[in-house]
Structure formats: C-alpha cells, structure tokens
Symmetry: C2
Subunit: 187 residues, 2 copies
DNA sequence: CCGAGAATTTGACAGTGTCAAGTTGTCCGG
DNA sequence: CCGGACAACTTGACACTGTCAAATTCTCGG
C-alpha cells in the first residue's frame, strides 16, 4: 500500500480531473500534465489509461454523450418535444465542460466504438423525439434537422457569448418561447 | 509606410499562412512556428505583428467576419431572407478555416476593437435581414434568434460531420428546403 | 550620410505530449 | 509461503510549442 501508487479507480479520477480542468481553463488550454497533477499521479499516467490526449477527451466525450442521452430521454418522457429542446440547451449550460468537447471531432478519436455507441444513442433519442413530432418517420426528417439545428445553434451561440443580455439572461425561457411558436409548413 | 525588409506585407503573408495552416490541420493543431516557417520568416516574427497566438487568430477572425458580412449582405440584396440563411452555411463550408475560429471566444482577444467592429457589422446584417422578415423590429427578435440559431447550428453540425450523407451531400438544398417551410406562429 | 527607430532574427526558457525503459505493486499457480 | 508473471505506474528523455529579452538588420528623415 504505497501511497505513491493510486489504489482507487484512477481512470475515473483522471476523467473527473479532466472535467474540472476543462471547466476552469477550456478545452484549448487543457494540459495532460495538469490533469495528472490534479489527480495526484505522474505526468505519464494518463497515457497508460487513454493512450493519447485525444483518448482522454474521447472518454470524457463518451461520458458526456451518456449523460446527454439520459437528460434528453428524461425530458422526452411526457411526449412534448419542446421539453427535449429545452433540456438540450440546459445540458449545454449545466454540463459545459462536456458539451464543449462532444461536437469537436478533431479533438477526439472518432473511431472509438464506445464513443460511437454513446453518440448514436443520444442521436436516436433526439430523432425519436422529432419523429413523434413529424409523424413517425424513422430517418432524419427535415423537421428533425431543423429542430436539432435550432437548439444546437442556440446552445453554441449562447455559450459563445453571442447573445445580448435580454436573451442570455433567461435562455431557457427564450428557447421555450421559440420552440413553442415555431411551425413547419406542409407542402 | 508598412513596407518591410522581408518582402511585401508580412502581416498579410502571415494571415494567409495561418489560414492555409488552419485549413490543413484545424485550429487545435495550429502552430505559430509552422505559420512562420510557411511565410518564410523566423519563429518569433508573428509575435511582433500580433503579440500573441490569440492575436494572430484575432486578425484571422476579424478578416473572416469581414468576408462573412460581405457574403451575407450580397445574399440579402434581393430581400429574401432564405438566401441569407443559405449564404450563412455556404460561407461556413467555403471558408471553413475562418468559420472554425470566428465563434470560439477562448481562442481570440475579444476586447480587440477591430474584431468587435467586424463582429457587430455581420451581426447587424443578420439582424436587419431578420427584421425585414419579422416586420422591422430593431433589436434581436425571437424570430431572429430562432433563424440565426437554426442556420448556425446547421452549419456547425454539418462541419462536425454529424449529419447522415443524404443531408450532408447537398447541404444547400437541405437548408433551403427547411428555411422555406419554416413558419413562426403569432402567439 | 548617419543615426534613430522600427522590423526581424537569435537565443533562451518553461511547459507540452509522447515514447522507452525502469520500478513498484498485485495476484495466482506450485 | 513463495516466486514469478503481469499490469499499473514512474522516471527520464526527446522534440516541439509559445513567449520573452537582447542582438541584429533594414528604412528613412534630418
């Protein structure tokens, strides 16, 4: 029981440390060595578990997609797709460290099977919600693309600080108002 | 006035080199020294002109916002807001190196006055287009937020490779179809 | 023509990711 | 009980990065 050796679940601790670090410094300034130091291990320990910096971020993104799918699923329980949209941007706000990474392919190992699984799960939750709205189409309908794009763009613009105070102040209200009033022309 | 002993306009050459580099390697892997080498100058030359790595990226983003505003303005000439939306995502596709940087505040010097000017210009072009649609409101109406979010989210998701082939194949057609059929309920 | 001042280079420094090799812990078959 | 195999982790090194200070090179106005 040498104290220099980490006996608990180091993989878990490293992911947590990475998320904390991401929350403080943002993705571009994330340092593997800083993460290692925060977890109390040597600078090369992360490489052993994740291979790569991208590997660590992939693990974070995978966990993020898992939580994301959970949140969307929970919000969609009562059949109102507006709630799913609201949950989408709420997740981006509340889990910003995850969200800032999840849609940045150049930072991740896209071929990772776990990541792909988690990704496709949250995508399917999203599409199912949109399909309910549009009338049960299996694939990505134009309506679904539109809805997804809108909530995603809103989240990104909000996080990037591109909105004036009156909309950034209560983003949930704004997205709810918009999502409620929006319609899709047949034809 | 600005002629240097290197050869022409080094500032210009460095921005161009940065854009090329961004196009090849993406923003996260951009190296100041690689940019300098590409421009044929020493590794510390960029610092003199831009102070910082963020300074160089700020200059790139400023130029990007300029071109962006031009493109949106050109597209809005004939009063159809759908064209502006299409131009938005077309810009993201055609000028990906710029677009990938423009909405990433943590990579830039947000307080830079030139950047702020260029930003607010393209924003005002966008809002003016949306105001025409909504009936002349000056500030950011819910409709404008919705429209902006949608085209922006579409562009980001598209660039991130999140869409299946049938929509990524002809993105312009998809965004046009969506933008044409979308409506906004008057309460 | 020359000296001031700007543009650029040179050299150094701390920090980064990644790899190879060494060290330390764990566990299991005898 | 024990020895050795195996995984987890550390140590040390390497090339590369951004940034800064000092030295150099060019330009131009007097």
């Amino acid at each position: 029981m040498n104290s220099s050796y980490h006996h608990g679940d180091l993989r878990r601790a490293l992911i947590d440390a990475a998320v904390e670090s991401l929350g403080e410094t943002g993705p571009s300034a994330l340092s593997l060595r800083a993460v290692a130091k925060r977890a109390g291990v040597s600078h090369a320990a992360p490489a052993h578990h994740f291979g790569d910096k991208a590997g660590l971020l992939t693990a974070v993104a995978t966990e993020g997609y898992g939580r994301f799918a959970d949140a969307l699923e929970r919000a969609g329980r009562n059949g109102d797709f507006v709630d799913v949209g609201v949950a989408y941007v709420r997740f981006a706000i509340d889990n910003r460290p995850y969200f800032e990474i999840m849609f940045r392919p150049e930072l991740l190992h896209e071929d990772d099977p776990d990541l792909a699984r988690a990704e496709s799960r949250s995508r399917s939750v999203l599409v199912r919600g949109a399909a309910d709205l549009a009338g049960g189409e299996p694939s990505l309908s134009p309506q679904a693309v539109a809805a997804w794009s809108m909530v995603h763009g809103f989240a990104e613009l909000l996080i990037g600080g591109n909105f004036p105070p009156e909309v950034a102040g209560d983003p949930e209200a704004t997205v709810r108002k918009i999502a409620t009033r929006i319609r899709f022309d047949p034809e």
